[in-house]
Symmetry: D2
Subunit: 286 residues, 4 copies
């Protein structure tokens, strides 16, 4: 018996747990697997993979679905699940959602014939996730900085999604905000929105900053650029591994750095889970 209104939630971190609880709060039945070491609200029913397969029309896999390409990403599970034909078989004829699902396809041929949807590639997901990441970056800055953001001089390197949201929030808190970008059109927007624009290859040449946020996934803060910084600068790197900062060189110069990974899952797990949920809802409606 498959219950149309039932969601199966499998594996993942706190975001995935929050997602399960949030769907339950919306009035749906939710069956979850993989949270042996994380307490869930009672509205979510813990279940085996087989039960989930039997009861749920919609199944939500974690973000990322797998880290190593071999096992399911399920840090709070007692048991390790190998991604193979038998796992794939359980998902057959279901509507499957997941984040960064590409690696799944090499684990079983079954996946090719299945309805697998990746919310991580959706632009609306990415925008909301970027906004939550930006706020996480502000939280880290507030925690690490012993002055106030209000009145501080901030540099945001990069004007992609995270940079856009971050610059907006910092200005909203009363910081003096400079944003770097390469494209003339981005520099024009930066100017229009009331920030100070600076070309990417000219950052830190003249101006000093109290806090620098890097959002560019490239070695922007190399030894050479770090050399121009005041040692009292706080440098927060939001670029995923390996990051955009020469951390060794920064340490040598006494520049405090934070490599802020796993945002927004770490700073706002419930928001992160709800963003995933809302994206899946939108995809289901389309």
């Amino acid at each position: 018996m498959i219950n149309i209104n039932s969601f199966g939630v499998i594996g993942g971190d706190r975001r995935q747990a929050a997602l399960a609880e949030s769907i339950a709060k919306d009035g749906y039945s939710v069956y979850a697997w993989g949270f042996d070491h994380l307490p869930l609200e009672e509205s979510v029913q813990q279940a085996t993979l087989e039960e989930i397969s039997e009861k749920c029309m919609v199944i939500i896999l974690p973000l990322p679905v797998t880290a190593d390409g071999r096992t399911l990403n399920a840090p709070y599970a007692e048991e390790e699940i190998v991604l193979d034909d038998s796992f794939a078989a359980l998902m057959r004829h279901r509507e499957v959602y997941g984040g960064q699902v590409a690696k799944l396809f090499s684990t079983s041929e079954y996946w090719n014939a299945m309805d697998v949807n990746d919310y991580f590639t959706r632009e609306d997901f990415t925008v909301r996730n970027a906004a939550a990441t930006a706020e996480g970056a502000v939280e880290i800055a507030m925690r690490e900085y012993d002055r106030t953001i209000c009145g501080s001089r901030c540099l945001v390197a990069g004007f992609g999604r995270i940079g856009k949201a971050l610059a907006w929030m910092l200005r909203g808190l009363g910081a003096s905000v400079t944003v770097s970008a390469r494209k003339p059109a981005d520099l024009a927007w930066i100017d229009v929105y009331g920030y100070t624009p600076v070309k990417s290859d000219e950052i830190c040449l003249r101006e000093k900053y109290d806090i620098i946020f890097n959002t560019v996934p490239a070695m922007v803060f190399s030894d050479k650029t770090l050399n121009r910084l005041d040692p009292s600068t706080l440098l927060i790197d939001l670029a995923s591994m390996p990051g955009g900062v020469d951390f060794d060189a920064a340490r040598e110069r006494g520049i405090r750095t934070v490599h802020a990974l796993s945002l927004p899952g770490k700073t706002a797990p419930r928001a992160a889970g709800e963003i995933i949920k809302n994206t899946i809802y939108t995809m289901m409606e389309e």
Copy 2:
């Protein structure tokens, strides 16, 4: 003798005049043709086309270069200039800039071998122009609306460049801002920036607005949509001809409409001229 530091400015409206004056203010020699009926600052030297050809390495044509495809766009000139081989010949071996230059190429074969640069297709130009247009729209709203923007309920239809800048300014003035869009990613940004998002096909279904700004170049405010509006709504259409409003239907319903064309040239000619100037400077540097 060609003077490297001389600019020739030919034809165009108040924006072009402002452009000429602004370049002169930067310390360059500027020779202008086509402003017989518009007083220019003394720093700009009036000249014939032949003199300009002789003295100037860089020549700036108007925006648009031509309206009819046959003659130069020069509303303040005494004389009409036909775009033909002899006009093109005067521009040879010069760096030529202009706005919407496409039609030029059918007026003389010479153009194909020349260095003609269109700033109108540049994204940085478009962004700054959109911001100035948005501010022009705010000015019109202030003039036409007999209450205050602060505290009013505004709808911005469309989240392209103008919509983005306009929503930002309206919120900055204290309006309650709703923005419509079709793409989920745009709706996500609208939400993040603190506006109320509404799907394009659901506008005005429930909410009432004091002022509506249309930025979408399509018939958004058809008879059917107008039917949902309160007759006291002020409707400002920023879409170029034919616009996005059924103006006859609006009139019948007693809805006040403004078709705001020629922004920002009309509301801020000097800003418009300087935007062109800065774009050309950037293009020259590249």
Copy 3:
């Protein structure tokens, strides 16, 4: 017969007319006198003073009640009304509201025993009026300035109510905003809100501005201060007569000035009328 739900609206300008219409829109009966030369919506019934006295429990006099201390301020009336005992007698036993009512008391002894309420001295009225005035100033700046507020350098002289609202709106439009004040506490707030603070006695010493707004009712822009301005500065004076600018000296130096009087009645009469209405409603509830 006195109708509890009837309002009498007497004299005044467009604000007062808008006030009458707005009260009628709220579902009350409204009787108005003094609008012979201004078309009113049909919901407002034109009446004689005697009819108003007979039918209305609440009577609203104009702002100011009188300009010359002798006659009622009623620019749209056919007839002149002298403020004397017989006028006062008509208002007896009514709840009377008006703006700047002080001069009334010297026109008839009857007023001393009557229930006369001045909304003009109410702080909530003053705040909302200041906000509408600030927006009117922005409208004037947009109209007079041939560049854009966005990106311009603005100085707001004075951090009283109008200065506070004006600085907030200008920043919201993307201007770079400097505010002058004398009190250290005001300078602290200016800084916190993200504006550049400058001490009143140091204005224009170093910085140049594109637009200056004076809100201080004192000769701030004397010949000496004007001497420091760039002649291209636009100077908008919001201080009531005689204003805070040496207009003759400004003219000699080629500085463009606007003495913006009668705001917000001129730029947003309906908002101004509704502000009065809401203040009176609040006073009636208290």
Copy 4:
């Protein structure tokens, strides 16, 4: 020998330490006492009270100068200093600054004849301190709330200095902000600045909030008011002891509360120290 450019910094917490370091960074000689258990930058010279008395023209006492009215507030000192005639004698003929100095006067008659200046009563100090406190409250909210401030519904109870700065910052982060106040003028400002106003005696009657910040030093969140809240609300109390929340009743209802004391010293000690420093500088100039 008294050195005009020497500052003596005595006792206090991290703020006072930051103050000492910041004055030293400005190029002055700084002698400090009371930081045996807190490492100071080398630019600050540790000294005895006698040395400070001998060398420094300006002496800065802690905030508050004393907690118990008997001993100096010096949590990082090895030794306890009793406030008596001999302590006062050391400060004679010096310019003495301190925070909340009133209790000092009952410890020795000498103080009456001395030049003691309280920065804590200065409005400019209070404004800047309030802004830093508001940012500290945002930091706490970010840390404790597992969604994002952006998009959340926040209530700020009270529109004093902290309420003003806090509402401004929350809106700047993209929250939907409601502010409660009693005075009609405050409600008018709240409206003008784009927040939703609510009368103090009507809070939480209809609307639900995700995060509530109390800034009012009175029992605003009594059992009765708490009864109206959703149990998932996060309630942050910024009022000093005993606070404005019935914490027991909140606990019973499962409402999470944070009593945020000692802001901004706790979240931004360096900012707090610099605010004190700048206030003292301003006082010295006057």
